[in-house]
Symmetry: C2
Subunit: 270 residues, 2 copies
C-alpha cells in the first residue's frame, strides 16, 4: 500500500441525496474537504498541527468532474494524493471509485497554506521537517482537465443572495462547498429533471463573511455550460465558477436555449 | 439487548460543524431522520417496503432539546424507539448520548404513514403483519416536554425566502430539516457568538415545493424564545416553529431585548 495515497470509504446514506436520489454535491464536496484534512493530518500537516502556528490550509481551486454521482446505499472511495508542490500552492488530486474499481469521477484541488495573522501564503518548499516533498505522487493517471480560466462579462446580476449563519463553517467564512449549492440553485428544478452537473469548477478569490450579500453574474458559454461570478456588493469577486451539465438521457441532442429558465419559453424568459 | 430500541453511532467529522465547532443542526437533524428510516426498516416498515405500496412516512412534529451539541471528533449515539401508537400517528423518541452515557439531549418526533395517491393517512393499528404494535416501548424515561402549541400573531414578514433545488430531498419537497436552517438563519451571527439553540420545535403543516416562496413571521415569547411561522405566498402555513436559546456563558443573566437583531441597539432595530 502506497502510504502517500489516502483511501476513504463512504456509503450514500438516506437523507444525503438530492430529490433525484443522487448524493448531493454538498455532501460530496464536504467529503472531499474532509479527506484532504484527514490525509494532510496523516502527513503531519493537518488542521490541528497547522492551527497551533496560526497557519491554515485555504482552498484556491476546486474541479469536480463526474461520470455519475453515487446513489442511495452505493459505496464509493475517495482516493487522494498530492500531485505537485509549488512555492505557494500544492495540487491535491482525487479519484472517486466504485467497489468494482470503475470511476465515478475525479477531483482536482489547489491549496495554499496561509498565515492567519498576515494573511500571506507560506513557502511550501520550506515547511518544517520533511514537509510535503516526500508525499508527492506525480505519475498517477488523471484523465480530467485541471482548472481553467473563467471570465464573466455579464453586468446584470441574475440573483442577489444574502449570507447567513448556516453558510459559514469553522473557518468563519462562507463554506467553500456552499458556493456550489448557491451556483446550482441558480438553475430551476426542471433543469435537474433532465440534466445533471457533470463538471463543476470553482476559483476562490476572496472570503465572504456572514451577512455579506453576493450578486451572481452568469454567462452562457454554450447551452450546457455556464460561467458564473459571485461578487460582493462592493464589487470584490468572491468566486468564479463554471458548470457543465450532461443530459440524463444519453440519446438527447436537442438542448433548450438555456438551462437557467424553466419551460418551453426558456429562451424568451432570459 | 432490547431489539425494540435502535442504537446508531456517529462521530462529528470535520466539515460537519458550524463556525463555533459544534455539529450543525442540519447534520444532527438529518441523522435523526436517517435513524428513523433505518430503525423502521429493521421493524419491517422502512422506506423501501413502504414505497412499494405507495405509502410514505411523513414527519408531523419534531422537537430537539439539547444540553449541548457534540463538537468535532466527539462521538455520540442516537438511541431511538417507538413510544406510542395512535390511529393516525406514531411517536418516535430519541436520546442522544455521549460514550460515558451522559445525555447530549433528546428528540421527540411524530410521524404519519401517508398514501401517496390519496394523500390520506393510513390506520397505523391495521398495518400488515405485526405492524408496530410489538415495537412500542412506553416506559423508557424521557425528561423532555413533547410538542406544544405554537401560534404566531405577527402580520409582518421578517424575511421572504425562495426555495431552490438544494432545498428539496428525495420526497420531492423541502427537506424537513432544511426548515431548521431557514429558521436559525433568521438570527444574526452575533446571536450565535453568545447563545446556542437549546430547543427547536417544528410542526409540519404543508409541504413546500421547489420554487415556492416562504414568508417568515416571528413572535418573541421572551428574550430567549421565538415562535415562527413560515407561510407560502398564498397564505398556506408550511411550518410553525419555536426556538429557545441558552446563553453560552452560564453566568449570563442580562439578555438583550431581542436576539433577532445584531448589536447594542437591537431593541430599536426591531
Amino acid at each position: 500500500m502506497d502510504n502517500r495515497i489516502g483511501h476513504y470509504n463512504f456509503t450514500v446514506e438516506p437523507f444525503s441525496e438530492d430529490y433525484t436520489g443522487q448524493l448531493t454535491w454538498e455532501s460530496m464536496g464536504n467529503h472531499l474537504l474532509r479527506c484532504a484534512s484527514l490525509h494532510a493530518g496523516r502527513l503531519g500537516l493537518g488542521y490541528d498541527s497547522m492551527i497551533r502556528n496560526r497557519h491554515i490550509w485555504v482552498l484556491s481551486r476546486l474541479v469536480v468532474e463526474l461520470n455519475r454521482m453515487p446513489r442511495t446505499w452505493e459505496s464509493y472511495t475517495l482516493n487522494t494524493w498530492i500531485s505537485a508542490l509549488y512555492r505557494q500552492f500544492t495540487d491535491r488530486l482525487y479519484s472517486i471509485t466504485a467497489p468494482d474499481g470503475s470511476a465515478y469521477g475525479y477531483a482536482y484541488t489547489v491549496w495554499a497554506l496561509i498565515d492567519m495573522d498576515t494573511r500571506q501564503p507560506l513557502d511550501l518548499s520550506r515547511l518544517p521537517g520533511e514537509g510535503l516533498t516526500g508525499a508527492v505522487v506525480a505519475d498517477r493517471p488523471f484523465p480530467v482537465k485541471g482548472p481553467g480560466r473563467i471570465r464573466v462579462k455579464s453586468h446584470t446580476a441574475l440573483r442577489r443572495r444574502p449570507t447567513f449563519y448556516s453558510d459559514i463553517d469553522i473557518n468563519g467564512h462562507v463554506n467553500s462547498i456552499r458556493y456550489i449549492e448557491m451556483i446550482l440553485d441558480l438553475f430551476p428544478k426542471q433543469t435537474f429533471d433532465h440534466y445533471a452537473p457533470q463538471r463543476v469548477e470553482l476559483a476562490y478569490c476572496s472570503e465572504t463573511y456572514c451577512g455579506e450579500e453576493l450578486d451572481f453574474f452568469v454567462d452562457q458559454a454554450d447551452p450546457l455550460c455556464y460561467h458564473i461570478e459571485a461578487r460582493k456588493t462592493d464589487g470584490t469577486t468572491a468566486v468564479r465558477a463554471a458548470v457543465r451539465f450532461r443530459p440524463l438521457e444519453c440519446t438527447q441532442t436537442d438542448f433548450p436555449a438555456t438551462l437557467l429558465a424553466a419551460g418551453p419559453s426558456a429562451a424568451q424568459d432570459q
